[in-house]
């Protein structure tokens, strides 16, 4: 496999894939707002009865189901953009493709785990008349999966940062600030892994660190990286047009 600063000359279709991102963001945002347990995050302290009532509430039930169905449809839509980042890593001045492969190994993980969290929410909402302790069980499974499953996100950010630091050529593929940003993001996301330790406070799944900091960081990361990758692809297109 060729590496060491070679340019990928075939980028046909990437522009289309890139522009699916803003559309997908709008869809995610709509689903985020639609799900009644996100804008004001549900508390882990809710009793089984309260959780059951939350799902049973006719105002909530339809919104829960539809938002989770839409999240399920578009959860993995992030992967083409992540694959584009991997292609950019391939263009870096590395001796081997190790960093690219390490990055690639991570990018299916985040969206797949999100899909599973989704499924647990759908299951909680499937039979709200179920025994409340069982509804709470599915709700717990969903929230814990959604909040604490950060390993792939942390690893992919660190791999990307290291790849950028190791990209030693005259015109690096990504500027250094992207690496710093990735390390900071990984650090911001990591504490959420401990969410099951506590039922309130900043680390709990509705807390300032595990919920707000983590999710805002992820949203910011997606937007920033899409713009950065988009700039690179745009530059590649111009270079190809000049060369043609």
């Amino acid at each position: 496999m060729s590496s060491g600063g070679s340019t990928t000359t075939n980028i046909s279709g990437e522009w289309i894939l890139l522009w699916t991102m803003p559309v997908v963001w709008l869809i995610w945002l709509a689903s985020f707002v639609a799900f009644p347990g996100f804008v004001h995050p549900m508390s882990p302290r809710m009793t089984a009865q309260e959780v059951s009532a939350f799902y049973f509430n006719p105002e909530n039930l339809a919104r829960i189901r539809y938002s989770m169905i839409v999240f399920n449809w578009f959860g993995v839509a992030l992967i083409p953009m992540l694959a584009m980042i991997a292609m950019q890593i391939r263009r870096m001045a590395h001796r081997t493709p190790i960093m690219t492969y390490s990055f690639i190994g991570c990018i299916a993980g985040g969206p797949t785990l999100f899909c599973m969290a989704d499924l647990f929410w759908l299951l909680a909402a499937f039979r709200p008349e179920r025994d409340p302790s069982l509804v709470q069980l599915f709700n717990d499974l969903a929230w814990v999966t959604f909040t604490s499953q950060v390993p792939f996100l942390v690893a992919q950010n660190v791999f990307l940062a290291v790849a950028i630091y190791l990209d030693r050529q005259a015109r690096p593929i990504f500027p250094a600030w992207v690496a710093h940003f990735n390390l900071l993001s990984a650090a911001a996301i990591a504490p959420a892994a401990f969410t099951a330790l506590t039922l309130d406070g900043p680390i709990a799944w509705d807390g300032a660190v595990s919920y707000w900091l983590k999710n805002i960081t992820i949203a910011l990361w997606i937007v920033v990286m899409t713009v950065v990758v988009g700039r690179n692809i745009s530059r590649q297109r111009r270079e190809l047009e000049v060369a043609a």
């Binding site: 075939n10 980028i11 694959a83 299916a108 993980g109 797949t112 599973m116 499924l119 499937f126």
Partner: protein
């Protein structure tokens, strides 16, 4: 001697492609026998059964579930060859390699929530025959809902393959199959109805959400297996750089 299996093992330049393709056929056959014959999870039993009836189902299918899904736990990942050949078809196209890589990455973990979670839930349900029926009901739901609940993977994957085929100038696969991919994506939307309805045509065993959908998916699968074969037969033995 040319054309015999031994000769082909040694000399056929397309050997790895044929091995992959044959594995797909074998995999789907085993999948069919396990899911339809041994475990009887396809076509799925109804969502409206009460806990006692569900417990009965687990009891009736005790060994079928445990042995059938044991087989899946051993060889379930061989489905990777299908993804590899499909990704390879996209690498032969004139579009960016991103399409192939995205597809491969998306599907690499597809089997986890899409198939294995179902098998795990139902195996756990079968393993303790004296479990509280309410808990068996939970595992029953988890098993059957998660089978349909991984729509996103197939939806996005089909759209990626479809766009790649429609943009392709090398005519690796026919354009109408690109459109068929869009149809397949739509079936993933249809199946979402079973997350809401528990009886009638939109239930997880309903005429629309399961049977008609399965027909479309089965035809789609048959078509792509056939066209992958044609693609392998047609191709010149080129070296691709990865």
């Amino acid at each position: 001697m040319k054309g015999t299996l031994a000769w082909r093992w040694r000399h056929d330049p397309k050997l790895e492609l044929w091995l992959a393709w044959v594995t797909i056929i074998v995999f789907y056959n085993i999948f069919g026998i396990v899911f339809f014959g041994m475990t009887r999870t396809q076509p799925p039993p109804p969502p409206w059964w009460d806990h006692a009836r569900i417990a009965q189902w687990f009891s009736d299918h005790h060994y079928g579930l445990l042995i059938g899904f044991g087989i899946i736990f051993v060889m379930g990942a061989f489905a990777a060859v299908a993804n590899a050949l499909i990704a390879y078809s996209m690498r032969r196209m004139s579009v960016s390699p991103i399409f192939a890589y995205s597809y491969l990455i998306i599907y690499s973990l597809a089997a986890v929530p899409g198939m294995l979670l179902t098998c795990i839930a139902l195996v756990v349900g079968a393993m303790r025959p004296d479990r509280d029926p309410a808990l068996l009901g939970l595992l029953y739901d988890m098993g059957f809902l998660s089978f349909s609940g991984t729509m996103g993977i197939f939806l996005i994957g089909s759209v990626i393959w479809g766009i790649a085929i429609l943009l392709d100038k090398n005519r690796v696969l026919p354009k109408w199959f690109g459109y068929f991919n869009v149809c397949n994506a739509w079936t993933e939307v249809v199946v979402a109805t079973c997350c809401i309805n528990k009886s009638g045509p939109f239930a997880w065993n309903g005429v629309i959400a399961f049977y008609i959908n399965m027909v479309v998916f089965a035809v789609y699968t048959g078509v792509f297996i056939t066209y992958l074969k044609k693609m392998i037969e047609r191709e010149d033995v080129l070296q691709l750089s990865f």
